[in-house]
Every structure is written in C-alpha cells, then in structure tokens.
Amino acid sequence: AAARGCGGVWRRAWQRGAGGPAPAPRGQRAVACNARGGAVPAGKSGLAPWVPVVGLEIHAQISSNSKLFSGSQVQFAAAPNSLVSFFDASLPGTLPVLNRRCVEAAVMTGLALNCSINKRSLFDRKHYFYADLPAGYQITQQRVPIAVNGSLSYSLCIDNKMSQMVTKTVRIKQIQLEQDSGKSLHDDTRNQTLVDLNRAGVGLMEVVMEPDMCCGEEAAAAVRELQLILQTLGSSQAVMAEGQLRVDANVSVHHPGEHYGVRTEVKNINSLRFLAKAVDYEIQRQIEELENGGTILNETRAFDSKLGCTVPMRDKEGKQDYRFMPEPNLPPLILYDAKSLPANMNHQQVVNIDWIHERLPDLPSVKRAKLVERYGILPEHSFTLLNEDGLTEFFENVVKQTQMKPKKVIGWILNDLLSYLKQHSLTVKESPVSSFLLADLLNLLEKKEISSTAAKQVLAELWKGEGKTPFEIVKEKKLELIQDQKELEQICQAVIDGQENEVIMMVLG
C-alpha cells in the first residue's frame, strides 16, 4: 500500500479540490498550516475536514569532550571502535559516572526553552536487545527528566512570502538525558553486521515537543529554531547531516471536535527539507487511507528520501516492552540554585542552575530583535541573517566599514551575496567576497563614484576572486560616474552627433 503513494502523484495536497489528485500548490498548503488547529477542507468524500496533528521527538547529541557516562572522547567520523571505553563496551563490572558537562548542557538547553529544571531527576534503564546496544539497555530518564514544561517560539512565513511572518509556539514536554547507541552496519552481501561503538554512550538530550504543529513546514520551522538555539548555546552542534540532530515525527489526523487519530511515528529523517516532506506525505497518506475506508496502524515508519515517501519499518521484535527499571548505579541527579546551594559545597562538584542562567548567551529571538532595533532592518531580514551561519557577523562587519545605511546594506547582503552563495552552494565563510571588499564596493556606491548598475558589474567581477579591489575593477572597466559637467556635455554631444537621423526624427516628433 505504501508504494502507491510513491509514484507520479505522490504529493497531493490534503485540501484537494473535487478534481482529485493534483500537485500541491505551495500557497494552498501554507494556508492550511497557518490556520493552526484549523480544519483542512474535506476530500472527495465530502465529509468533515481533517485536522493534522504533528508532535516531534528530537535527539540532540550533546557537544562535549567525553561521553555521558565514560571518559571516552566524542568525535565524528573517527576510525571505527577507536573511541570505546570498557564501560561503553559494557564489560562486566563497569559502572556509569555522570559527565558534568552533559548535565550543564541539558540545563542550559532547558533554560533556553523556558523549561522548569528539576532539581532532582532520575536515571532509568530501558531494555532491548540490539547489536549496537552492548549493555542490553539504554540509560535514560523515563520517570523524572532533567527539564519539563517549556515552550519554543518559532516563526514561519505565510504563502512563502517573507513579508508575512507569523510566530507560533510549541510546548516542550520534557528534556531528558540519555545515552546514544552505537551504529550497526549491515553488510547484506556477506550476510554480516558490523558494529561501531564510537557513538555508544555519547550524551543525548531528547527534546519532546507536544503535538502543537499541523504541517511539515511548521515542524521544520520549529526544529530550525531549536537548532539555532542549540548552536547558540553550544550545547549541541546540531548538524543534522552528521546525526547530531535527529528528528522523529508523530503524525495523526482527525476530524474537528473528535479525539486525536491513531498516530504513526516517522523516523530516519535527516534534513529539515525531508522533515517537511515526510510530515506532509504522512498527513496526506493518512487522510487518503482513512477516506478510502482504511485504518491507520500505530506503527513506526521510515522516510525514504529517494522515493519521497514513508514506508513501514520492519519491526522484528513486534511490540516492545522496554521493562523500565531505575538505574541502581546512579544516585538521583541533584541540581542546586543560589538558594539551595550549601555554603560549604565545592563548586566544582555541583551544578548551579542560577549560575548557568546568568551566563546564557543571547538567544536567536533576542539577537533578531536587537538587529531590528540597532539597524532598522525588517524583522524578516533578521530571520534570514540568523538562518545562515555567519551571515549576521558578515552583515555587521560590512555595516561597520561603510557609510551606507544598514537598511540599504541588508539589500546587498540578502539579494546579492546570499543568492550568489545559494546558487553556488557556498557557506558564508566560503564567500569569495569578504565583508571588507563588499564594504569597499558599497562605499564607492555611497560616495556616488559608481552607479548601482555599475556596482553590480563590479560585484560580478569580484565573485571571480581574482584578488582585485573594487576600485581597481572600476578603473579597469571605466565604470566611474562622471561628475564633470563639461565632460558630460561633450559625451552627450558626441552621442547626438553620431545619431543624426534619430535626432531629426525626434525633433520632428
């Protein structure tokens, strides 16, 4: 049944017209998104409309030198099994020792997401047999997680128009600390499984978002904002492509006024684009399934990025009973605040919530507000600035080195620099034009030494990265604006002289 959706018509809007399958117009889809909790018009059955519900579970790998419970190093793409301690390999008799840095990262993240931090949280064992889980259980926080009841505000634009941004909020149910698993590599031709334990035991923060979203775009925007926050805090590098940020989406649909429908969990989503696609596909699949008289199974599905659809995952062990149990080798995790901190306590041994709170960096939302205020740019521009790694710094550096008003600079940054970088798949850091060169160019423009058209020509030359300054290019290409009245008159006269016939025609009208 899953293959059905993967063909030519895999992506139909869930607010289809009577005409049946048709590619989803982006605008219409966005309309559905914007009406949060709002109903989506019914399909061909003509019954009540559908309300999609999307919740997310996000695993963020903690950026730390060593693992959550052992001293092994954390490093991406190291030689297989080169970062494995006795504990990571679950050698008998080894015990977990909690890494303070991971606790601090979780507290920081919790505070940034407006959570209440539990001053006493607990660790539990979650049991299942899998080759990349050497102990046969994962240490997690099932009963009392480190942070609960938070919220995340994120913005997205209506109708894909940057000028129409709306801000939404998703509730954060909890953040829990837990161990990452190793990696299994299945070699089907030789019928063997290879296990790499480098990742086993790396600290994870599982961020559980309440089902407050209703489409892929919202889900992607929420995750993007979370990603920015984590990167700002430094609590996670949150690079999806490196698996530092992994998203599972819980999706269901129901009619307004009815209970939530049966939900499916979509896994294996490794980019924001795929997240939006996977969620939208799954919503549409469920609506179709239900409208065709089918039922939704409470199952785990994987997103196949090549086919652009979700497929049921083979669940070998059937319904899992994780047989949760308190982790007996770790005492309750106790955190302090300024009030509860005992006077004689060694500061190296405790985590002080207030101390961390005072040292939180500006979060993306604050950074954006400051950009708008300081430079008078539009709010949507501040989003774009923050969305690209290093772009804000680039912008601010240009502003510092030029007399041009920031409001004008932003146009050059967003329309010229950014679109060039996007076209060539470059990051801001890889830009062939430095902030210094761009500022130089904009100064020429600002001093009216060149026209705006000429400036674009110069920029086109600068992209080539031949090491010339804007001034040199202007000279070389003779692109200066002419300020001398007589010289201008002479040029005009020369033009007129050369076009005698046209002049006569004009004079005659």
């Binding site: 296990v195 149990m325 080798n329």
Partner: protein, 525 residues
Amino acid sequence: AALKGGLRFQVSAALKEGRVTPTELCQRCLSLIKSTKFLNAYITVAEETALKQAEESETRYRRGQPLGVLDGIPIAVKDNFNTAGIETTCASNMLKGYISPYNATVVQKLLDQGAVLLGKTNLDEFAMGSGSTDGVFGPVRNPWSYSRQYKEKSVPKSRSEDEESNWVITGGSSGGSAAAVSSFTCFAALGSDTGGSTRNPAAHCGVVGLKPTYGLISRHGLIPLVNSMDVPGILTRCVDDAAVVLGSLAGHDPKDSTTIQDNFKPFELPNLTDVSKLSIGIPKEYHAPGLSSEILALWSKAADLFKNAGAKVVEVSLPHTRYSIVCYHVLCTAEVASNMARFDGLEYGHRSDMNKSTESMYAATRREGFNDVVRGRILSGNYFLLKQNYENYFIKAQKVRRLIANDFVKVFGSGVDILLTPTTLSDAVPYMEFIKEDNRTRSAQDDILTQAANMAGLPAINVPTGLSERGLPVGLQFIGRSFQEKQLLTVAKWFEKQVKFPMIQLEVKRHDHSTFQHQKSAFFS
C-alpha cells in the same frame, strides 16, 4: 608475639621481623592449595604472578620499606571480581576463559598495598546461590568436613565412602573464599554479599565474614548480582584482620558513584573492657521457622554473655522481616534480568555457533552460557519488570524494602547500638542432603536471616561462635548502624574474645597417603 595494638595479621609481624619471607609464605600457601585441591575452593590459582608479587614484596621488606600491614600477605579473591590478566569466570560457561583488561577497585587497592593474589575462588554461578554448589566448576567442600572435630562427632565409622558422602557444603555464594580462609590457604579473602553471600559461608566455615555498609566500599569491577545491594565482603580468621582489610578498601571511588564522598579513616579496634554502656537488640522476628534448637540455644547464651557483662540486652521488633525474602526475590531477579542482558555473545564471553540470525545467536548463547538458576532468575525478573506487572511487583517490593529499612532505623533510633541474631538456621548440611532442594528454595531459606541487612544497606558481621553437636561451626551475626563499622567490629571483637572459637583441626590426606595435620602456628592464627 607481636600483638601490640590489636592482632592485625600476626603473620605481618613475622614478615616484618624476618621470621618468614613473603616468598616462603606464598609458597606455603600454594602448596596448601595443592594439597587441599579436593575442596575445590579455587577456580584459578595464579601461581606465577603470586610468586612474582611475593618476590617484589620481599624486596620491599629487605629494603625495610614494606607498603603496610598487608604487604606480602597472601589473599584470595572471589571469581566475580575482575582481575587484569587472570581469568574471571563467575563460575559460568558464559565467562569461561574471559580475561578482564582491568582490576576491580578493591583488587587494585589490595595489590597497591602489597598483598599477594593467590587466585580466584569458587562460587555459585554469578553468585546466585547459598551453597556454592551451583557453579560450572562443581561444588565447594567445607574444610570442616575433613576436620577431626567433625569426624569424631559425625563419622564414628571413619570409612572412606562415608567421608565421601558426608562432606558438608560451605554455604554460599562466597563458599570458595570461606573455604580458602578456613583451610589456611590464604590469610584473607574477598567475597561479595548481596543477600548473605559472605556471612552465610563464613558461618558454615567458621570464619569471620564482614558485609560493610552499602557505599563504603567500591563495587567497580565486581560483576553485579543486585547493584543496589551488592557489597564486597571480607573473610578473615579474626575480627581484627577484617578491620585491617576494611581499612585498606573503604572510601570513595570516583568510578563508583554510589560510594560515599567522605574520606574513610582506617581504624584500629580497641580492646573493649566495659560493655555496660552497650545496648544489644535481639530482634524477635529472627526466631524464624526452621531455626535449629542448637543455634537458638547459642543465641540465648550469647545474649546472656552480654547481659552478664553488664550490657543492656533488649528484645526488639523488626515487624516487616517476614516480607523480606519475597521482596528480596522480586528486586533481586529484576536487577539480575537487567544486569545479565549484556551477555549476548557479541563483545565478550561465550558465543554460540548458531548463526541463523542475530536473535537466534543471542538465544543460543544465553541458553548455553547460563545455568538453570541464572536463566530462571532472568525469566522471573523480566516478568516482574513487564509493564503490566511493574506496579504490582517491582514498585511494591521497593516500598516493602523501604519499610524494612525503616524498621532498622526505628530500632537504632530507640537507642539500640547493635543487633544480635543468628547467621544461619542450622549448621552446614551434607552436600547430598543440600541438593535435594532446588536453588530457589535453598536461597529463600538460607538468606532469611542475612538479607534484610542488604535491603537496608547496613553493616553486618558473622562471628564464629561455637561448634554444633556434629562438630561443625556455628556463627552469630551482629548488625550495626550505617557506617558505624568501628562500633560493630569493636563489639564483634569483644564477643570473639569471649567465645574462644576452636581452631579447625584439618586432617588432609596428602598424595603420599600420610595424614597431614595443621598445627596451630604463629603464622596461621
């Protein structure tokens, strides 16, 4: 001889004075291990490394720089502690041939203080049992089976077949360590104590068995049975020796987050002369069904001993004691199910040849690697942890555990210093008798007087008290307040001095068929 400031390993004085060298001592122990091989106390004898360690110790003594009281002292370690370079089997097929890359913290501490590690002692598979009869290397025989005392009283017609069928068990699960200390093959041994596994065999083998407070000694490197109850145990011939070993092992370990943060100060035990300020509690619930009249009598006698010496002796109640063993069973099996999950044949240990699928390999590995007892506990533990059962079993058992612990808090809060109880219901039974009941039944019976201390995390010690009518050792248990080991051991030492437990008169047939009899010597006291 050198008894200044308490006994503290008499042999240590001999070493210091040069009356014996560490190598001589080590060789003597090794040869005793050989001549008592039939006891099956050791799984692995690390002769080569032991002699090397003895040699190093000898050098230190020659330079006049021994590392301390334990330097050159031959010790044995239960085979569920990791020892780098020496096999660690847990008496299981699952870990046969497994050589750990690291030392348990307690092993490392002993080695750091110059102790000579003779080998690894026998146990019930993964310490699950109360007889030391259920390990893959066969049962341990109680040295007292071969004592003149037992033979005289129990085997009048000393025919060899009778001897063969009459040998008694050591108790367990640290039976190998108890037998090793009892038969003079080492001076101290490490056991582990989860429900009584150190105190029970200590009682049956006539040695001191100390279970310290939970959290006082690191468990890092002890292959766990029940993490929330396991404690490394200490088996010695006298209370003073136990205090020395305790002093060398106790204290915070960064590798075990459940150890106390405070530094532990080793202590010497004073010779108590006045017990009049002591309050000894006699918990009435320990008058358990099945308690032999002999032990009951000995218990009363001991209470009288304190009373006559001026101590206050009061009957106390620990009302939840009778729920303890059932509660223990639920908590124990649940943790066992969890702890054993790692033995899947992938990273280490036994791996089945079955290769149809990963799952079938897991199943076959675990079927081949674990005995019935271990598999049974894994099964029931997983049952208790199932979502639909968790509340009814595990959570309830945890609540009962709290009630049991509170019983002790109340009693100690009422002014009682130390509790005095029997350690076992009876003296050791013959092996043939013991195996008539299954492991589960035996453990439930045998742990009944000891496991409450584990539930509450309290320190407890078995002190050998006397011989039964059959000429076998009987011990009594003292239970103290949390982290009050000094008080507990001081009282135990006073008691030890009063009861004058007799020396084992071991009659061991050597290869030349002559009878070798241990003599009480300065070294083996």
